[in-house]
């Protein structure tokens, strides 16, 4: 009796060892098949463990990569039969069926995916996308909204789709998105601002139940500015319709210098952060302060040191005047002020090079804007000099920069 039990136990152990080995080797083959795109390895994995859905799935993936979608569908159907509650398998099957043109079969598979994972976003998202491609727009967007309700991470994708499907009609897009609250609307505002749709952005901002916070507003301004919608960026920034040219802090009475491109002041170039700049209360032409810039050799010609974007009107002539003082300025490429179109970068005008002078000197120059101009960039930069390198030493002071 004892011997029989022992033999039985050994037999069970051996069976389990063999089963484990089969599973292990099957997984090894499946992994290798995916790495090497080897159908032979995938077939071997399935042969070793025909009831393992992972082996079938690996085979389907390889078949799909080898441009055999019909066979991939069969493998995935086998996998879903073996593990019918796996929503990811159903999604794979849906995608594979759509690949071979079987949209109804794909929809049936996505239905199963939604059935087994109704609270997850990815199942609704896949089903919604398929419905959209099947021409069932209303059902599609209802499904896509379900995905967003489950995971707000899909909201930007939904907005992008709605915007495209609506052919850039913000009212239709808003309905397709199903904007319900300020958080949804803020996502839409960000999307519109990123696309440079300033009018629509401002209109959506007016529909908010509470005004944007300062950081949110700054973000919208930055997005509009980056999209080169300068007038609307200015409108959001200043909270008033802007149609007049304005240069801020031309006398450097405020010590704040911006580090990011934007409106409302001077922006320091990131590339030139080694050059020393300071607000000087001792030297000034007007007011109480001026800008002092000290050079110790480094300043890449062509790269601006300081810039400000200002609104301008098209086809109009402006005059820029400023006061400058230098001390021990030594360089082959002296500094100057330039003005260029903010949209296409075309040079509109420039000052003469800063002369070596130990007293304040007022310089001016004129420029005419383009017919399409909305904004211009005033830059402090320097002339190129030949040969490179082109060091610059000394100190300059700038004050009372005016645009008229």
């Amino acid at each position: 009796m004892r011997l029989a039990v022992a033999i039985l136990a050994i037999a069970v152990c051996l069976f389990l060892m063999q089963a484990s080995a089969r599973v292990g080797f099957s997984r090894l083959f499946a992994r290798y098949a995916l790495i090497a795109n080897s159908l032979e390895a995938a077939d071997e994995a399935v042969r070793l463990t025909p009831s393992d859905p992972e082996a079938q799935r690996a085979r389907a993936t390889v078949l799909s990569r080898l441009q055999q979608p019909a066979e991939a569908v069969k493998a995935l159907e086998a996998a879903t039969r073996l593990r019918y509650r796996d929503d990811l398998l159903w999604i794979d099957l849906g995608n594979a069926r759509e690949e071979v043109g079987d949209t109804q079969g794909a929809l049936a598979a996505f239905d199963q995916a939604v059935r087994w994972a109704p609270h997850y976003a990815h199942t609704h998202w896949q089903r919604g996308n398929l419905l959209l491609r099947m021409g069932r727009g209303a059902d599609a967007f209802a499904e896509l909204r379900s995905a967003v309700a489950a995971n707000r991470g899909y909201l930007p994708n939904l907005i992008d789709l709605a915007w495209g499907i609506s052919r850039e009609d913000v009212n239709v897009a808003e309905q397709l998105i199903g904007v319900r609250n300020d958080a949804d609307r803020l996502a839409l505002i960000r999307f519109l601002a990123r696309r440079g749709k300033g009018k629509e952005t401002v209109a959506q901002m007016r529909l908010l139940s509470a005004p944007l916070s300062k950081p949110q507003k700054d973000e919208v301004v930055y997005l509009l500015f980056s999209a080169k919608d300068f007038k609307d960026a200015f409108e959001v920034w200043s909270s008033s319709p802007a149609r007049t040219a304005a240069l801020f802090n031309g006398g450097f009475e405020e010590s704040q210098i911006l580090n990011e491109p934007g409106l409302g002041g001077w922006v320091r170039s990131r590339e030139q952060n080694k050059t020393s700049m300071a607000i000087d209360v001792a030297e000034k032409f007007g007011g109480t302060k001026s800008l002092q810039v000290s050079f110790d050799g480094e300043w890449n010609p062509g790269t601006p040191l300081l810039s400000q974007t200002v609104l301008i009107e098209p086809s109009k002539t402006y005059r820029v005047s400023f006061s400058v003082k230098t001390k021990d300025l030594v360089t082959g490429g002296p500094p100057l002020l330039t003005v260029s179109d903010a949209t296409n970068g075309q040079l509109l005008g420039k000052s003469e090079s800063f002369p070596s002078t130990n007293s304040w000197l007022t310089l001016s120059f004129e420029f005419t804007t383009l017919a399409t101009s909305e904004a211009a960039v005033i830059r402090l930069q320097r002339n190129n000099c030949d040969p490179a390198p082109c060091p610059i030493f000394g100190v300059i002071w700038l004050d009372e920069i005016n645009l008229s």
């Binding site: 051996l14 080995a21 690949e99 491609r133 727009g137 909204r145």
Partner: protein
């Protein structure tokens, strides 16, 4: 006593029924209304994205993976080790290599244009599709709509293709996949051999 117990049971049953009805009503009322009114969606050709290994790529600056819908005007960008195919249905398909950025436009009149801003793309245009692949540098390729065709373009232009080095058959140590599978199988069988009951483990040959 029995009568009292029966009446009690009835009362409890009625109470339970009432509670269930109440809960059902409340759940029904609490269900969020879909305030979205039916909005007519314009019918248009829509394409479908497939990414390699279902890895997400970027479409219009947003992450997207296999199954995503691609609309005309989309900017599609792949990173390193990422590639994608856009199925344009009756118009054909677009294969996008790794580290590529393209702008895809198409319409239901059979026009497909791919602007390759960086990287490489292959447009397979079906018959009656007017395909064009161009770069922002000005170079472009067009097909003959009557014949369809395959248009390839890289920006910057790809260097001439090199002959693959010998011995790159894939598989373990370049032995080829069939040989690798054979080695694995042999290894597996060797490992499994002791598990089988055999009369003579030494085999039939001396």
């Amino acid at each position: 006593m029995n009568l009292k117990r029966r009446n009690g049971s009835r009362a409890i049953a009625a109470l339970v029924l009432f509670s269930v009805v109440q809960i059902s009503f409340q759940i029904g009322f609490a269900e969020p209304n879909d305030t979205t009114t039916a909005t007519p969606v314009l019918q248009q050709v829509v394409a479908r994205l497939t990414t390699r290994n279902n890895q997400p790529i970027t479409v219009n600056g947003i992450s997207a993976a296999t199954g995503a819908t691609i609309l005309t005007g989309a900017t599609i960008e792949t990173g390193a080790d990422q590639s994608a195919t856009v199925n344009l249905g009756p118009l054909g398909s677009l294969d996008i290599a790794a580290n590529t950025k393209v702008v895809l436009t198409y319409d239901d009149q059979g026009n497909v244009k791919v602007l390759v801003l960086a990287g490489c793309a292959v447009l397979t245009a079906k018959k009656d599709t007017k395909g064009e692949v161009a770069t922002d540098q000005g170079s472009s390729e067009k097909n003959d709509p009557a014949a369809g065709g395959v248009l390839r373009l890289c920006n910057p232009p790809a260097p001439p293709s090199t002959t693959p080095a010998s011995g790159t058959n894939g598989g373990l140590f370049g032995l080829g996949t069939a040989a690798t599978v054979a080695i694995f199988t042999a290894g597996g069988l060797a490992a499994l051999t002791p598990l089988f009951f055999q009369d003579n483990p030494s085999g039939s040959t001396p």
